[in-house]
């Protein structure tokens, strides 16, 4: 059977019309709305084309000494607390402005911006240098953009620690177990000789929960969502307010955005 040009065009046209007519209501049923904790619980695992985070640095710096997000994250992920800063393990932490944004910082910058520390975490880059250097594929970029780690597979070579321009990766120089204040028994600890970092709470996303830091922020300074969904909260905020990214000039394409 052969299809001539006219028939082919007619078929293609009606297929496109059919798609347009039924796609819209289907999307509405699937509930691709902005993300809230309650809605998330009902829908099962949270999935996205591209997870991203927005830090409202404007709001965040108004509140001094708040570390709700850091405490929440470090508690659910069994992150140890070492007294010696050389042993420090960090998933989400505060960094001096000139350390977080060395390419933006200058000495005549608005004083209140310069003075306040910036909340930083793994940027889950689109082009992650840590992934390229890992000799055992213990770290890789998932389809939804999360730069994931397999701690079973990490041999502790620390190439990724050297490659990450954001200092987002920490190495366990010592056995972390004795330095965890309260063990969260549902989540593993790490062992000596393994690198660790933020995973955008992928274990919580699988249960339909938003990341622990976002949930813990009572000042609503953290937003988390799907960048590929034009109706998502992160997309709305990024289109409304001016935002910057850390060391974007390096070409890593970081996916944590800062509203200054």
């Amino acid at each position: 059977m052969s299809v001539n040009r006219r028939e082919f065009l007619r078929l293609a046209g009606s297929a496109a019309a059919f798609g347009c007519a039924f796609n819209f209501p289907l999307r509405a049923i699937a509930g691709e709305d902005s993300l809230t904790a309650e809605a998330a619980q009902a829908t099962g695992p949270l999935k996205a084309g591209r997870w991203a985070m927005v830090v409202d640095f404007q709001k965040c710096r108004e509140i001094n000494d708040c570390r709700d997000c850091i405490d929440a994250c470090h508690a659910v992920h069994n992150v140890p607390q070492f007294d010696n800063p050389k042993d420090e393990i960090k998933w989400i932490w505060k960094e001096k402005f000139e350390g977080a944004f060395p390419d933006i910082e200058h000495r005549h910058l608005v004083h209140e911006v310069l003075e306040k520390p910036v909340l930083v975490l793994c940027n889950h880059c689109d082009n992650p240098p840590c992934v390229g250097v890992c000799p055992t594929k213990a770290t890789w970029r998932r389809k939804d953009g999360i730069v994931m780690m397999d701690w079973h597979r990490c041999i502790g070579c620390r190439y990724c620690v050297a490659a990450c321009p954001y200092g987002s990766r920490s190495f366990n120089w010592r056995d972390p177990r004795p330095f965890i204040k309260e063990l969260h028994r549902e989540f593993p600890t790490r062992s000596r000789g393994v690198v660790e970092k933020c995973t955008f709470c992928e274990e919580r996303l699988a249960k339909g929960l938003i990341p622990a830091c976002v949930e813990a922020c009572k000042h609503k300074a953290l937003y988390f969502g799907d960048l590929e969904n034009p109706d998502s909260e992160v997309r709305r905020i990024l289109s409304e307010k001016f935002s910057i990214r850390r060391k974007a000039g390096l070409g890593t394409n970081p996916e944590v955005y800062y509203i200054v």
Partner: protein
């Protein structure tokens, strides 16, 4: 053969001495047929796969769970009886096999293996005086 008597006597004494552990176990200790008996306190009737299979291949099975969860992000598993469960050592396995000392360690100690699962994964807290 020179000194045949001395050599043969020496050989017999030597053989008797190096096989002492076997004789000891077979004749004196009465534990020649010792086998570890892991204790399991659970109301569940069935594990996620047939018991014989789990006995022989749980290590391989757990490795496949690990790869599925961590690397492919697939966390659900259908057991051979058709139940949907989460693939998780700490949260699923250890909810039935809740006493590591009385279950896991029993065989692992007997065969002299020390799996490093528990370097990271947390076992449920045990009531110490019961297990000792």
């Amino acid at each position: 053969m020179y000194d045949a008597g001395k050599i043969l006597t020496g050989l017999i004494i030597f053989l008797a001495l190096i096989t002492v552990p076997f004789w000891y176990n077979a004749l004196i200790s009465g534990q020649a047929d010792y086998r570890p008996e892991p204790k399991l306190a659970t109301s569940e009737k069935q594990c996620v796969a047939p018991t014989d299979y789990m006995k022989a291949a749980h290590m391989d099975f757990l490795n496949r769970w690990r790869d599925s969860v961590v690397r492919r992000g697939n966390r659900m598993f259908t057991t051979f009886t058709g139940k949907e469960i989460e693939m998780s050592l700490s949260n699923t396995c250890m909810s039935c096999h809740s006493n590591k000392t009385d279950f896991c360690d029993k065989c692992h100690t007997y065969v002299g293996v020390s799996p490093y699962c528990w370097d990271c994964h947390l076992e449920p807290q045990e009531v110490r005086n019961v297990s000792q």
